[in-house]
């Protein structure tokens, strides 16, 4: 159709006539610039939020089923008048039943979390005390830094040993080596056997905050200390007495705060969840537990991301449509302004397609330049959002490619009509045009 040489000439001529009407060209381009940059920025913010959510869920483990103790809603309102201690939540028996029912699943139990103060020499630190099993690290998002984790014999003999996390190590021991040192918690000494650090950015509790009515009160905790679940049971019992509220005294008996069940593969996650729920519903009179399936959360997150993308896409389409109409408007004005030039070119041997290419290339230059500038602006906005708004943003190459090809498509679509109109003008009439 056209040679490379003609192409470069067309582009040169287009550039010149766009330059001749600089202000008009820039204003026309603004529509595309803002359209494209907002698409990229919105996609980047959406992608960032979505990836963070997905990563957080993925850290919970996609083959895991997490069962959490939840305070039943009616319990405090009605039963406390007759019953001084509210008994609810997951039990050791539940964990044992899971293990028997699904032999090839790994079951990890974690006792309720108790806020305590840990003492070492003259230092004191508010901590969360967690009773758990020896194979807890296999399923939990923690990794061992020093020493070892709790062992099976620690658990069997209810040893007074503990594993501390990085925060405790840093704040309580400062520069001392914590391993083999003793920490005093609630009048008992616990020997530190290992140091772990959490691989997660935010805790599961934080992530599920919106899903669970009353998240455990972890505010002000300086770190976590893990002790064998048996030790926890024998030293601290399962009853916590809280003072306050309208009834004056409120007792709670909770055995386990969380049970994590890991199945060997993803296909078994949902059937296993049904089995677990069946077991729980048989032994729990009230809904005092909650089943969290990270896999489902992940799927839900992906689904909601898709909906988000569709909404975003339609907004982007509308804004680019508006920009495109603006471009068409300007190009129609340009064509009628340059009617005489078109007549001259036709008289000098320009074919209709030459005229089409001429005007189309101007529109494309406008939209593609606008697209490139929009991409640059669209890359800056998410950086600013991350910097000032402390929100994660991810600029994907797909978003860049998408918005650029949209701007090219807008140029083609809205440039074609004015260009064809120009080409179809009668050369004699055009030459007479003032």
């Amino acid at each position: 159709m056209i040679s490379l040489m003609q192409f470069t000439s067309i582009v040169q001529v287009s550039l010149r006539s766009l330059w001749l009407h600089r202000m008009r060209s820039i204003l026309t381009m603004l529509g595309i610039i803002f359209g494209v940059s907002s698409v990229i920025a919105m996609l980047a913010i959406g992608e960032g939020a979505s990836r963070e959510a997905q990563a957080r869920i993925a850290r919970l483990g996609s083959t895991n089923i997490i069962l959490k103790t939840v305070k039943p809603p009616q319990q405090t309102a009605t039963d406390t008048t007759q019953q001084s201690i509210a008994i609810y939540g997951l039990t050791y028996d539940d964990a044992e039943r899971f293990r028997i029912t699904i032999p090839d699943a790994q079951v990890v139990a974690q006792s309720k979390i108790i806020s305590q103060k840990a003492y070492y020499r003259n230092r004191v630190l508010a901590v969360e005390l967690v009773g758990t099993v020896a194979w807890y690290p296999e399923l939990a998002p923690i990794e061992l830094n020093r020493g070892r984790f709790l062992s099976a014999s620690d658990q069997r003999y209810s040893e007074t040993v503990c594993v501390i996390d990085r925060n405790v190590a840093d704040n309580l021991f400062v520069i001392d080596d914590p391993v083999d040192m003793d920490i005093k918690i609630a009048g008992n000494y616990y020997r530190v056997v290992g140091v772990v650090s959490e691989t997660r950015v935010q805790s599961t509790e934080d992530m599920l905050e919106t899903r669970v009515g009353s998240p455990p009160d972890t505010a002000g905790a300086g770190g976590r200390i893990y002790i064998p679940i048996t030790t926890m049971k024998s030293r601290f019992g399962e009853t916590a007495i809280q003072f306050g509220g309208s009834s004056g005294m409120l007792g709670e008996k909770v055995e386990l705060s969380e049970i994590t069940v890991r199945v060997p593969n993803i296909e078994r996650v949902l059937p296993t969840r049904d089995v677990l729920e069946g077991i729980l519903s048989r032994f729990h009179k009230q809904q005092d537990y909650q089943v969290v399936v990270p896999l489902e959360l992940l799927r839900e997150a992906i689904r909601s991301k898709r909906i988000f993308s569709i909404v975003l896409g339609s907004i982007a389409a509308i804004s680019l449509l508006v920009g495109g109409i603006g471009i068409m408007n300007i190009m129609l004005a340009t064509v009628s302004e340059r009617t005489r030039e078109i007549g001259i070119r036709r008289a000098l041997g320009a074919k209709k397609q030459d005229i089409v290419f001429q005007f189309l290339s101007e529109t494309l230059l406008l939209t593609l330049t606008g697209g490139l500038l929009g991409m640059a602006l669209g890359a800056i906005i998410p950086i600013a959002v991350t910097y000032f708004g402390k929100m994660p943003t991810v600029i994907t190459s797909e978003a860049m490619l998408l918005s650029f090809s949209i701007s090219a498509a807008v140029g083609l679509t809205f440039g074609l009509y004015p260009a064809v109109k120009a080409a179809n003008m009668d050369p004699i009439e055009s030459l007479r045009h003032e």
Partner: protein, 243 residues
């Protein structure tokens, strides 16, 4: 790129332009408005012809037809033996670019292009390579005495200079015929005189030139004058001419 002389094949005695019962009508709704009625004319290679007549006599329409900007509604127009009335739009564009050189009353240079680029336009549409294009355009600019103004815009030139650029542009593809529509109409007498001398010179160089004019002085320089009235050829006169 260069025009090849097909008349060598068809015989040198054949007319460059042959009009046979050429008719052109415009249709306004259902009523037919005849502008040209059965024109029969032959122009031969190297002739310098003027077309005269009052406004509305159809001379502009005839020029548009000769320039392949329009198609007749009846009769035949043979340009160098080829029937124009049968051709499609793209072929006509090609013919305009290669075989016809236009010189307009109001110069019709493209304002955003400089002189050399204006001369190059018709070469460009014939897909002449950039280097040859530039070479040819410079050569023509020198020939019309504007070799030192190549990078100027048309608005920076006088009317006479602009018309010289237009002549250079018309000559770019070495066309079969040059069509000039009131070439001195927008010029002062001195510049007009220069342009006419340039046309004379081209004629003595062998170019076939058709000039539409009101001016008897211009007509008297041509070999042959065709007087038109009401879409018909009223009479033809043979002048002393410069050739």
């Amino acid at each position: 790129m260069a025009y090849t002389n097909t008349s060598e094949k068809t015989g040198s005695c054949q007319a460059v332009v042959q009009l046979k019962n050429l008719c052109k009508s415009y249709f306004l709704g259902h009523s037919e408005l005849p502008v040209l009625r059965e024109i029969n004319l032959d122009f031969y290679r190297g002739q310098y012809v003027s077309i005269m007549g009052p406004s509305g006599s159809g001379k502009s329409t005839l020029l548009n037809l000769l320039g392949c900007l329009d198609r007749p509604t009846g009769g035949k127009y043979l340009l160098d033996g080829l029937d124009i009335s049968e051709m499609d739009d793209d072929t006509l564009s090609g013919i305009r670019g290669k075989q016809i050189g236009f010189i307009f009353q109001s110069f019709n240079l493209i304002p955003q292009l400089n002189i050399i680029e204006n001369i190059e336009v018709s070469l460009y549409y014939q897909q002449v390579h950039k280097i040859q294009r530039r070479q040819r355009a410079e050569e023509l600019a020198n020939r019309v005495g504007l070799g030192d103004r190549l990078k100027h815009r048309p608005s920076e030139l006088s009317g006479g200079q602009q018309q010289r650029v237009a002549i250079a542009r018309a000559l770019a593809n070495d066309p079969l015929i040059l069509l000039a529509d009131e070439p001195t109409g927008n010029l002062d007498s001195k510049s007009g005189h220069e342009i006419l001398e340039m046309l004379d010179e081209l004629h003595s160089g062998g170019k076939t030139i058709l000039v539409v004019t009101h001016d008897l002085n211009i007509a008297s320089r041509t070999q042959r004058s065709i007087h038109m009235l009401d879409g018909r050829i009223e009479r033809q006169t043979v002048n002393g001419g410069s050739g």
